[in-house]
């Protein structure tokens, strides 16, 4: 991926994620984690290369990819000024669900994330942890095959973070997440992929990556290499 400015943000990044796997992208700020994720989520058009997401070609069939993925950005998506329940209902119907079906999907998702009692509230009135659960709800509503989570727990207190991890672990869906927290990668991921300057510098299970060291040491070594 090269930007119009000529900046090469991601280069020669090869990766296969198996169905059901949870993979964490780890890397310093500006490493290309978010850029990679936004490309895979059809938000940025790559300047070169190919990708298949949920069995569909990213460049040839972006709409088919969109049907099959959930994406939760760093900013979230819960919005500030609309009642969240209504916003979720709209979202479900944009995925092609009929009204009754959409309503069931919303109820089910809210229940699963434990936020049914907040459905009438505006995003602006929620705490960070509550809002993040709604962000997740938008990504999960349509039961995607692949879920992208960009820094899911940034800015959350430890309690909210633990609760969020619990929800993510229960999903059982193919998940790609970016994070700055080593313990988050360890808690959630089957595999940790370390990215530095747009390239993969390590790709292994957390235990394997550690090999007697702390994950922080393994991380520092991979990034410096």
């Amino acid at each position: 991926m090269t930007f119009r400015s000529g900046l090469r943000a991601v280069d020669g990044l090869d990766l296969t994620v198996e169905a059901g796997e949870t993979v964490a992208f780890l890397g310093p700020n500006g490493a290309g984690k978010t850029t990679t994720m936004r490309m895979l989520a059809t938000l940025l058009r790559p300047t070169g290369g190919r990708a298949t997401v949920a069995g569909r070609d990213l460049l040839a069939e972006p709409r088919e990819v969109r049907r099959r993925i959930g994406y939760v950005s760093q900013a979230g998506g819960a919005g500030l000024f609309a009642p969240l329940g209504e916003e979720l209902l709209l979202q479900a119907m944009l995925y092609g669900m009929r009204r009754a079906e959409a309503r069931r999907a919303v109820e089910h998702t809210l229940d699963r994330l434990g936020v049914t009692h907040l459905a009438g509230r505006l995003g602006a009135s929620l705490s960070g942890g509550e809002k993040r659960r709604f962000d997740l709800a938008f990504g999960l509503l349509h039961r995607p095959d692949v879920l992208f989570l960009d820094e899911p727990s940034t800015g959350l207190d430890p309690g909210s973070r633990a609760a969020l991890w619990e929800h993510v672990r229960e999903l059982g869906v193919t998940t790609l997440l970016t994070t700055h927290y080593l313990e988050e990668a360890e808690a959630l991921a089957d595999r940790v992929v370390i990215i530095s300057r747009g390239r993969i510098v390590a790709d292994a299970a957390p235990d394997e990556l550690r090999r007697g060291r702390t994950l922080a040491e393994a991380f520092a070594e991979a990034v410096d290499a």
């Binding site: 940025l44 969109r66 994406y71 900013a75 979230g76 919005g79 000024f81 609309a82 209504e86």
Partner: protein, 240 residues
């Protein structure tokens, strides 16, 4: 179609809770009507002034609706919608048509107030003008959204609020541009709104089959096609 309708209904429901915002959006032209109109009609007519204020309203209401999408851009809502399979045109049109509805309600309030002050325009002319305003609103709203997405966030407010002023003045909002000195008249012909306003003034005067109406309709059609194309293109590409 279904997606446009779903989005339009959603935005209408949100806007429907905000009557105050709807009135505030129309306050400037209403103030001009009440506090400048009585002065103006000592030399001109309500049938000249009210179309000008309608155009001012269009520029201020639909032309500045990009502000709404700035919040959605910052809060991630826009990006969330762009990851759904919804078409890009519906994502734009849902918002635009909702803003056009708001603009039409505001315009009806303005024209109604105009009648109270002494406007005497034929109903057919007013209805045709509302159609013109609806199409103009579509163009302006699409353009405004494109600007809000394409410009750096901090630039949209100064650019949009500044652009509105010359566009308004050059259209001949307060006095017909036919009264202007030659150079100003020529300059105003370069802006599309001058032609649209000349057409609306003819409609208000009950003259439907004039050159000004034909020119206005042609300019408006071209402007709308261009603005929608720019809007969809920007919605497709926007990194926001």
């Amino acid at each position: 179609m279904r997606e446009t309708w779903l989005l339009l209904r959603h935005y209408r429901r949100l806007a429907g809770r905000n009557w105050f915002g709807l009135l505030i959006g129309a306050i400037q032209p209403l103030l001009f009507l009440a506090l400048f109109g009585p002065l103006f009609v000592t030399v001109g007519t309500w049938e000249t002034l009210v179309p000008g204020l309608m155009l001012q309203l269009g520029l201020l209401s639909a032309g500045l609706c990009g502000f709404g999408v700035l919040f959605d851009r910052q809060s991630g809502v826009l990006e969330r919608l762009r990851v759904t399979p919804a078409g890009r045109l519906p994502l734009l049109l849902g918002r635009v048509l909702s803003d056009v509805t708001t603009l039409l309600v505001q315009t009806v309030v303005l024209v109604g107030a105009g009648y109270a002050f002494g406007l005497r325009a034929p109903l057919a002319g007013v209805l045709l003008s509302l159609l013109v305003i609806a199409v103009l609103g579509t163009a302006l709203a699409a353009l405004s959204y494109a600007a809000a997405l394409a410009l750096p966030e901090e630039l949209f407010a100064p650019v949009a609020t500044t652009a509105v002023v010359p566009l308004m003045l050059l259209s001949g909002t307060f006095l017909p541009m036919s009264m202007a000195p030659g150079w100003l008249d020529v300059l105003s012909r370069v802006t599309p709104f001058r032609h649209v306003l000349d057409a609306v003034r003819d409609l208000f005067a009950g003259h439907y089959l004039t050159g000004a109406v034909a020119t206005g309709a042609a300019v408006l059609a071209a402007l709308t096609a261009l603005c929608l194309a720019v809007g969809v293109r920007t919605f497709n590409r926007a990194n926001a």
